[in-house]
């Protein structure tokens, strides 16, 4: 079947969306942008294809709504099994890369010991992998770097201690290798991995009949043909795309938000390094926009920096800020100043949640100023970008919009991070139809 790919190369993450000819989302994929946009792009696309496979499985099983519980269980077993396959494949790559690095003068005396320590580390990682992908298991991240990294470090410390090999040596091998592994485009056929996963599911004998497996194989037979691709986002210019394959992220966000919520007239996007206020017409065509200029104050990175300063995970900031009953008054949106202010206030004994709530308010204040310069807020407004996932930011936004613009519907899609990629995919679909909007015709 024909598919249309939209890719949004952001400063933090790269997102891909696969659309079908009916403008329906088949799949979504996301990965960290790393230093290699090209790989990020192919990883995100592959992830979107994997997701698309599951959509096709669902369609095969009778629709995209809720399916019978046995089918749901089968599909989630299949997904876990597929993820495990993928993890094991990358783990093998990591092991090979680490082992290859054990050579030269440095390892003249210790080489063999280090190699066998590595073998032991990876043996243990492989052994514990199925449990990580077992039903109900929680993973902090879906990115290989994060999952493999935290376990490697823990296991290597143990193994190193027992084998009397310095932890630093093992750490260093990992650091060098993970970059190489991460920057290698995904290899191997997806269908092969799916077949392996199917095999594993039936082998595990969780009581799924052969019928389910057969129908899944049918769905695997549908070829996903990449008919047209459009890229957007900061990394777009570094890609070997020709001009008709590139659209501005402002146009893509406008169109993507329109597709999610057709009544959208104002879009606020807070991404890693920019904040955009966009006004769109009833067809999703951009009428006006404003974005932060030379300074990235008040963007997503601001929260990332604060999280680092507080030694917390990015996703933990919002929930903690929500606990505040008395937000601190912080006006500066300068990231560096905010760090100083944070330490200062902590030293004065102010509560962490109050300071955090104040910092969330500060970034939203800045976003609202950009919105107002773009032409204000019209009903309905759609909030997109990574920061839209942060409940404390959303709370402040709702408050400020109500104070300044009255009653306005604010849409936040759970998949809002894919808005730009969705718009890009729709541009791809239209381009394939011969409608080259956003490109001189």
């Amino acid at each position: 079947m024909k598919t249309f790919v939209g890719i949004d190369l952001g400063s933090t993450t790269t997102k891909a969306v696969l659309l079908d000819e009916q403008e329906q989302v088949l799949g979504r994929g996301i990965t960290n942008s790393r230093s290699n946009y090209k790989t990020a792009c192919s990883v995100a696309t592959e992830e979107a294809k994997i997701d698309a496979r599951f959509t096709l499985f669902r369609r095969e099983f009778g629709g995209e709504g809720t399916l019978s519980s046995s089918v749901e269980e089968f599909l989630s077993a299949l997904e876990r099994s597929f993820r495990l396959e993928q993890f094991l494949e990358q783990l093998a790559d990591l092991e090979e890369t680490c082992t290859r690095l054990v050579r030269g003068e440095r390892f003249e005396k210790t080489g063999e010991g280090v190699k066998s320590a590595l073998a032991e580390v990876f043996k243990r990682l492989r052994a514990e992998a199925p449990a990580m992908f077992a039903p109900g298991a929680e993973r902090k991240s879906d990115f290989f770097r994060d999952i493999a990294g935290s376990r490697y470090l823990a296991v290597a410390e143990e193994v190193g201690r027992d084998a009397d090999i310095s932890y630093d040596v093992l750490l260093n091998l990992y650091d060098k290798s993970i970059i190489a592994v991460e920057n290698r485009p995904p290899s191997g056929s997806l269908n092969e991995k799916f077949n392996k996963a199917l095999g594993r599911v039936s082998q595990d004998g969780d009581g799924f009949g052969d019928e389910l497996g057969k129908r899944a194989e049918n769905a695997l037979g549908i070829e996903l043909e990449e008919s047209f691709l459009v890229g957007t986002g900061y990394g777009r210019v570094t890609l070997p795309f020709s001009k008709e394959h590139i659209r501005s992220e402002i146009l893509c966000h406008g169109l993507g938000a329109h597709m999610m919520y057709p009544e959208t007239r104002t879009v606020l996007d807070i991404g890693g390094q920019d904040t955009k206020g966009i006004q769109v017409d009833p067809n999703g065509i951009v009428e006006n926009f404003q974005m932060n200029d030379r300074c990235a104050a008040g963007c997503g990175r601001y929260l990332g920096y604060i999280a680092d300063e507080m030694n917390m995970g990015l996703h933990e900031l919002g929930p903690l800020a929500m606990k505040s009953a008395k937000p601190a008054r912080i006006n500066s949106t300068c990231t560096v100043f905010a760090g100083a202010e944070l330490r200062d206030r902590l030293a004065l004994g102010e509560k962490r949640e109050d300071i955090l709530a104040g910092l969330h308010r500060a970034i939203i204040l800045r976003a609202v100023s950009i919105l107002s310069r773009s032409g204000g807020v019209a009903d309905q407004m759609t909030f997109t970008g990574g920061v839209a996932k942060n409940e404390a930011a959303v709370r402040e936004l709702k408050k400020l919009i109500a104070e300044n613009y009255g009653e306005v519907t604010i849409n936040i899609d759970p998949d809002s991070i894919y808005t730009g990629a969705l718009g890009a995919a729709e541009f791809a679909r239209r381009a394939a139809e011969g409608r080259l909007e956003g490109v001189e015709a």
């Binding site: 659209r247 501005s248 992220e249 146009l251 030379r294 080259l436 956003g438």
Partner: protein, 435 residues
């Protein structure tokens, strides 16, 4: 898809013959300026908007323009260090960067573009035209040079019109203050017939300038009225208005432009002749000078030509009919100062930009908002909204600075420009689809 435009790949920057001619004129002027003390000539420093070049010439004074010096420093990549020097001397980060570039240049020995020291002014002549910072700038220079300062107060066109009272008020200042002080400084007696003679020459060159600027109405436009426009306004906004040199230059330029027009050619860019004209823009606000070529390239690489701009009116709104008039010498100097773009109120600016979009059949309005110039930037977003509303054409807003290299973020500007060009395409596409 049309094939991408194939451009000539010159070894060096391409320049029109007129640009080379202008370069010679500017070089000669800077030579005269830097050798003024040896030649026994006296120097008047003044500003571009509302400059009284013809009057200055009546007293054999050499015209020195600190704004133009700052622009030269920006183009020659010197302004960054000058600005830092001025900041070290206590000038805040938010101050007009022309001022800081000028002050910094002074602190670093006041070396002009020809590598020679610029002279101390003998008089500071300020015809205040809408920019409040000009006052403060000359206050600083007066402190430094301890020379006489003349302040010709130009009433702001707050109500959108010039009244007889305003003209009388200015003529009175010219007679009672400006002219007597200039006589005193220069030791030359004022001769009104000499002034008439210069004004006649001004008007002649002004006719040609208007013809050149209005050539942007053609499709394709043979000129870029913003980036190219900066060159075109150079002589007449500076020290050459009222001279034979200016008459020659504009006649020459007019022929050059007419020839391109006849051949159906677009503007000449630093990378060679412009390719296909895809977007016709009206631009409001001054350009960025520190990354001038890079900035321009972002336009011509995309096939965008600026067909009209407000910046080319800061030294006179000749296309609206004003000419220096030998029969009403002092009155026409007053009218000149009153009419310059910076002295026009917001509704007048909106009218002008909307007219340009309609008359030049432009695709829309682009505002280049200058970080350190409040006098230009105040009200620009309102201008943008109103022009959009009146013309129905899309507008966009970018932010850079005059001569502070720290305020030019190429990736950001490019991102916005590309978005804007695609927005124009999308609008065209949707109109085509609706039709």
């Amino acid at each position: 898809m049309k094939p991408s435009v194939v451009k000539a790949q010159p070894a060096d920057v391409l320049k029109d013959a007129s640009m080379l001619k202008q370069k010679e004129m500017m070089a000669a002027h800077y030579e005269r300026l830097t050798s003024a003390p040896q030649a026994g000539e006296k120097v008047a420093s003044t500003f571009v908007p509302g400059n009284l070049n013809e009057l200055i010439m009546c007293f054999d004074l050499v015209n020195n323009l600190p704004e133009v010096n700052a622009i030269q420093s920006g183009l020659r990549k010197q302004s960054g260090q000058y600005i830092m020097e001025a900041e070290r001397a206590g000038h805040s980060e938010d101050v007009c960067t022309y001022v800081k570039s000028d002050i910094g240049m002074m602190l670093k020995g006041n070396i002009g573009p020809n590598g020679k020291e610029l002279p101390r002014p003998d008089v500071l002549l300020l015809s205040y035209t809408g920019c409040f910072t000009f006052l403060k700038w000359f206050e600083l220079l007066r402190e430094q040079y301890k020379c006489p300062t003349i302040f010709l107060q130009t009433p702001y066109m707050a109500d959108g019109k010039v009244t007889p009272n305003m003209i009388q008020y200015m003529v009175k200042q010219l007679k009672e203050d400006v002219i007597p002080t200039l006589e005193e400084v220069s030791g030359v007696k004022f001769d009104i017939d000499r002034l008439r003679e210069y004004l006649k020459k001004s008007a002649e060159a002004e006719d040609d300038l208007v013809h050149i600027l209005q050539s942007g109405k053609n499709k394709p436009s043979p000129i870029d009225a913003y980036f190219g426009g900066i060159y075109y306004i150079g002589p007449i906004f500076g020290a050459f208005r009222g001279t034979d040199d200016a008459i020659d230059y504009y006649r020459f330029l007019r022929e050059e432009v007419d020839e391109r027009m006849l051949k159906g050619l677009g503007p000449v860019t630093p990378d060679g002749p412009m390719g296909e004209e895809k977007y016709r823009l009206v631009v409001e606000g001054p350009p960025n000078y520190t990354s001038f070529r890079q900035f321009w390239k972002m336009f011509y690489d995309e096939g965008a030509t600026v067909v009209a701009s407000s910046y080319t009116k800061v030294g006179g709104t000749y296309d609206y009919g004003f000419r220096h008039d030998p029969d009403r010498p002092l009155e026409s100097l007053a009218e000149y100062c009153l009419g310059v773009y910076t002295n026009r109120n917001l509704p007048m600016r909106i009218d002008m930009l909307s007219d340009y979009i309609n008359e030049y059949e432009a695709d829309g309005l682009l505002i280049n908002s200058i970080k350190s110039c409040n006098s230009f930037s105040a009200g620009q977003l309102l201008i943008m909204r109103e022009v959009e509303k009146r013309t129905g054409k899309p507008a966009a807003f970018i932010e850079t600075d005059l001569v502070d290299p720290r305020y030019f973020s190429a990736a950001n500007v490019k991102n916005r420009l590309e978005s804007y060009f695609q927005m124009i395409d999308q609008k065209r596409g949707s109109k085509g689809a609706a039709a």
